[in-house]
């Protein structure tokens, strides 16, 4: 199963953090820092896999991909195929791209809610739920439409609808 999904920038600031097995918040921050420590030392032409035994426990590995200023990190154990995880990161990033129209780091900062929603459509409880960007986008758009049309919108201050209209 997938243990965690972390998106952080090249300075180590977390942009999206989701742990699928419970860790207390301080431990989460510590883990994020250790992962950053490992990733910042990697050269550019080495493999994308790192054994994460020291950080997350025995049998775990992490796969990372570096896009512009962001590291996308998936932590998983031996029940997952490593190369498939690499592809999954690709799917995730492509979906983000389509959702936000040429996504950049700032998009991720201000819309982390939507990102969570998107991630939840792809990975569910540590397992892969859907791998087609089309399907995921369809679901996310439906939810957005629902929110807009919901009658409770009158109580909702401008920020939320503005966010979704963006």
């Amino acid at each position: 199963m997938i243990r965690a999904v972390i998106v952080m920038n090249t300075q180590g600031k977390p942009r999206l953090v989701k742990f699928y097995d419970f860790q207390p918040p301080e431990k989460q921050q510590e883990l994020i820092r250790s992962v950053y420590g490992v990733l910042s030392e990697r050269a550019d032409n080495v493999s994308n896999f790192v054994e994460a035994d020291a950080i997350f426990g025995p049998g775990t590995q992490l796969v990372y991909k570096h896009f512009a200023t962001l590291y996308f990190v998936f932590v998983f154990d031996s029940a997952e195929n490593e190369l498939a995880m690499l592809d999954l990161i690709q799917v995730f990033v492509e979906t983000l791209d389509r959702c936000f129209k040429n996504v950049c780091e700032l998009d991720m900062v201000f819309n982390f809610n939507k990102m969570h929603m998107l991630l939840d459509e792809i990975i569910f409880g540590g397992q892969v739920l859907e791998t087609s960007s089309e399907q995921v986008l369809k679901a996310v758009e439906e939810i957005a439409k629902l929110e807009k049309s919901s009658s409770a919108i009158s109580l909702v201050p401008k920020s939320v609808s503005a966010r979704f209209g963006r």
């Binding site: 989460q28 900062v109 969570h116 629902l146 201050p157």
Partner: protein, 814 residues
């Protein structure tokens, strides 16, 4: 508008936080914001509730504590509007975890939402449930989830399937309920549902064997069909990744097939064809294709495949290994490690490629390759492999050196058939990377050298040569110094030269030079210096002309800050100056260190040991070997040392205290295998303890010298049998006879106790001890009490006959 009121838009708060230049500023902003949110929460203001929760989630991601917002999540979930519910569930998943009791309060809301008409709300509820439910919640809500598995909406279906996975993990008993629905999921067309279904089945197999059987019977066909369809399917843009339709589905199905086929020949046979097809047809120029191939290979190795299929798999792995993409190589090495157990011959063919990977620039690949090489070593290829590895040791970088050295040393130890080769390799390793070598490795080397008398000359000469070139490596220095000390005359007189050696002349003063360098070198630590001092002492006896020079060198340390060195320096000085007559006997050649005992001790117990000292060499080296740190055995002989001090002072006393000494001697419960072997198959612990019926060492009493009281770095516990015998007041007999001689256990002016030993013919593990008490005084004994105690390793079956006892007494007490 005050930027810190709870009316702040989320976006503004994020901007404010990002605008902070220092961490302290950020903390201040966050604190203010949290205070505002807390105020809003206590006012129970419904308007901004979900905006506040969004802010809280952001703050949580930055790492600040946010537990005060947990109840807010619940309130939001309970409200009617969709946006509120969504934020509420999201907050639930991020801020809470399954251990909180608060979670139980959500169960009711969850139940309602699971039955909601709006499918997205149902989806939300399933999502939350699937991510953080606890065992009780799982039990409560399992029937709902089961029902949802049968809906028509694929969105809900797949979420329900994955939710069931979590339920099964939390409550494995419920696995059987999900068997039926799971297998029907496999008949779906929608890929998302299929993947979820396959994952559910995989987890079911892991959770319960009944489910495994059921699925194996009913689903194997279906799975093969799915795989065939998806690999033959035409271009489907929706699921296409790099030209292959839905590789994720491929991989999942392959994995489930592996679980079903493991250990079951029938289903494995059924899968053979499709596996062969996938393995040959899939293109391997893209990552997706390689992922499928990798999983395919893993499956082939996991089930009972035909040998043809296995060969195919290993060939694929071989191709992976030469791929330029680091990821592929990494993954291939991983797979090969598992394959080695199944078919090691095939893997051997790729040995050269694997060796190349050890030298790769990527650290992850190097580590994997090294582990794999270690698994591949066998008797035939060990020499060439070691040579390669040692060559690489020279050029490898520092962090890797430690690992590499450890592996090389263990390979060399395990597989060396000739001592000569072993010594050679160890010399090289020590000179290249001595600082990374662990202590027990060079200890083992010394043990081995002392066990190979014909190679000692060669060993000391090679070490001498190695020392001249690289004297920075600590372990090399230590071993060299010890060997020169012990076998100095072999070095100088060229004893035991082997044919391949070049002639070399070393004078006595050269040898002393070497030790002096080791002593004075600034990077030598205490152990090395201590060993050098001792070696100098030995040399001064073996090379009398250098004695004066050595004495001067030794005296340089008489004011050393380290107590150890100072003490040694002064004592050795005094020995050299004033006790030349005992000096030579003090530093005689050390008795052979027992290799098997050493290995046994290393492998087994950690307690103080009695490595059986079989040598018939003079044990007047006994006292000196106490202080000679040969570094062979590890310390915890602290209790032993005390014991030996005690023993040398006390006369052997009553039996009970004797057995206490023995108890201490053995350090309690465990006894090392080294105890047994004195002279043949000694299964009798007691006899060995008392060293009766075995060739004995002479019985000279230990001279309790001040030297023995200090621990040194590695006191020599191996002479322990000697004090045991002294303790029991020596053996009258030296001949090996199976009749066990009686011993006088205690003798004073008033009482004499003798033990005589017999063994029942059928029961060799038990010894019958007959104690005879002789009253030597002129008065009569009254109220005589006899108590016996034995160390835990012996079992006292007291069946002594009281009557016999008294009779014996009476007859003697006249």
């Amino acid at each position: 508008m005050n930027p810190f009121s709870s009316g702040t838009r989320l976006r503004d708060m994020i901007r404010a936080i990002r605008a902070c230049k220092t961490a302290a500023e950020e903390r201040a902003v966050v604190r203010k914001e949290c205070a505002a949110i807390r105020a809003a929460i206590s006012e129970n203001d419904p308007d901004y509730r979900h905006r506040n929760l969004a802010k809280l989630m952001f703050i949580h991601m930055l790492g600040y504590p946010t537990h005060f917002g947990q109840m807010e999540c619940l309130k939001l979930i309970a409200s009617a509007g969709f946006p509120e519910k969504r934020i509420g569930y999201l907050g639930l998943m991020l801020l809470l975890d399954e251990r909180q009791e608060v979670l139980m309060l959500v169960t009711n809301s969850l139940k309602q939402d699971l039955n909601h008409s709006n499918q997205y709300i149902v989806g939300l509820a399933l999502c939350a449930l699937g991510n953080i439910c606890s065992a009780e919640m799982a039990r409560d809500l399992a029937p709902e989830v089961e029902r949802l598995l049968q809906t028509r909406d694929p969105n809900i279906k797949k979420k329900a399937a994955l939710c069931s996975i979590r339920i099964i993990r939390k409550v494995p008993d419920l696995a059987e309920n999900f068997m039926g629905p799971a297998s029907s999921l496999l008949k779906e067309k929608h890929h998302g549902v299929l993947i979820a279904g396959v994952q559910l089945c995989t987890d079911l197999c892991k959770a319960s064997t009944i489910a495994l059987e059921y699925l194996r019977k009913n689903c194997t066909e279906g799975l093969v069909r799915i795989l065939r369809d998806v690999s033959n399917s035409p271009y489907a843009p929706e699921y296409d990744i790099a030209g292959i339709t839905d590789p994720f589905l491929h991989i999942r199905v392959l994995r489930l097939m592996r679980m079903l086929g493991q250990g079951d020949a029938d289903s494995s046979e059924y899968m053979n064809d499709i596996l062969a097809q996938v393995a040959t047809k899939t293109e391997s120029n893209k990552n997706a294709g390689n992922a499928i191939l990798y999983e395919c290979v893993e499956t082939i190795m996991g089930i009972e495949a035909t040998s043809g299929l296995r060969v195919l798999a290993i060939n694929i792995l071989g191709r992976f290994l030469s791929n330029r993409d680091n990821n592929i190589r990494y993954v291939a090495l991983n797979m090969l490690m598992k394959a080695v157990t199944v078919d090691s011959q095939a893997v051997q063919r790729h040995r050269t490629t694997i060796l190349e990977c050890v030298k790769d620039s990527d650290a992850s690949i190097r580590k994997r390759a090294l582990e794999l090489v270690f698994l591949l070593v066998n008797d035939t290829n060990v020499k060439s492999l070691t040579k390669e590895l040692i060559d690489h040791l020279e050029v490898s970088d520092q962090e890797f050196k430690g690992d590499l050295t450890a592996k090389i040393c263990s390979i060399v130890e395990k597989f060396s058939q000739e001592k000569l080769w072993y010594i050679d390799q160890m010399c090289k390793v020590l000179s290249l990377a001595g600082n990374h070598v662990k202590d027990d490795v060079w200890h083992a080397l010394i043990v081995m050298i002392s066990n190979a008398p014909d190679l000692q000359g060669y060993a000391v000469r090679s070490l001498y040569k190695a020392f001249r070139t690289s004297n920075e490596q600590e372990s090399l220095v230590r071993v060299t110094v010890w060997c020169i000390g012990e076998y100095g005359e072999m070095l100088v007189n060229n004893v035991g030269v082997l044919e391949m050696e070049e002639p070399m002349t070393v004078t006595e003063s050269d040898a002393v030079d070497v030790v002096e360098v080791a002593l004075q070198h600034h990077s030598s630590d205490i152990t090395t210096r201590a060993m050098s001092l001792v070696a100098l002492l030995k040399l001064s006896s073996r090379f009398p002309p250098t004695s004066e020079r050595i004495r001067e060198i030794v005296m340089q340390h008489k004011g050393n800050v380290e107590l150890e060195l100072q003490q040694r320096s002064l004592e050795f000085n005094s020995i050299i100056q004033r006790h030349p007559n005992i000096k030579s006997s003090l530093v005689e050649r050390m008795p052979v260190l027992d290799e098997s005992a050493y290995i046994g001790k290393r492998a087994g117990s950690s307690q103080a040991t009695l490595s059986a000292d079989k040598s018939s060499q003079t044990t007047s080296s006994g006292p000196s070997s106490l202080k000679l740190p040969n570094g062979v055995t590890k310390p915890p002989a602290a209790p032993l040392m005390d014991l030996l001090d005690l023993s040398s002072d006390d006369a052997p006393v009553s039996t009970s205290s004797t057995t206490d000494f023995l108890h201490d001697l053995l350090g309690g419960d465990s006894i090392s295998p080294g105890v047994a072997p004195s002279g043949g198959a000694g299964t009798d612990i007691l006899m060995d303890l008392l060293s009766i019926g075995s060739p004995s060492a002479p019985t000279d009493v230990l001279v309790p010298n001040a030297i023995s009281s200090k621990q040194g770095n590695a006191p020599e516990p191996k002479i322990a049998p000697a004090p045991v015998m002294d303790l029991l007041d020596g053996l009258p007999s030296r001949e090996e006879n199976p009749v066990y001689p009686s011993i006088t256990a205690f003798e004073s002016s008033t009482l004499k106790i003798t033990f005589s030993f017999t063994k029942q013919p059928g029961n060799l593990q038990a010894t019958v001890i007959q104690a005879t008490f002789t009253n030597l005084s002129s008065s009569a004994y009254t109220d005589f009490i006899f108590q016996a105690a034995v160390p835990k390793i012996l079992l006292l079956c007291n069946c002594f006959n009281a009557l016999d006892l008294i009779v014996a007494l009476i007859f003697k007490c006249k």
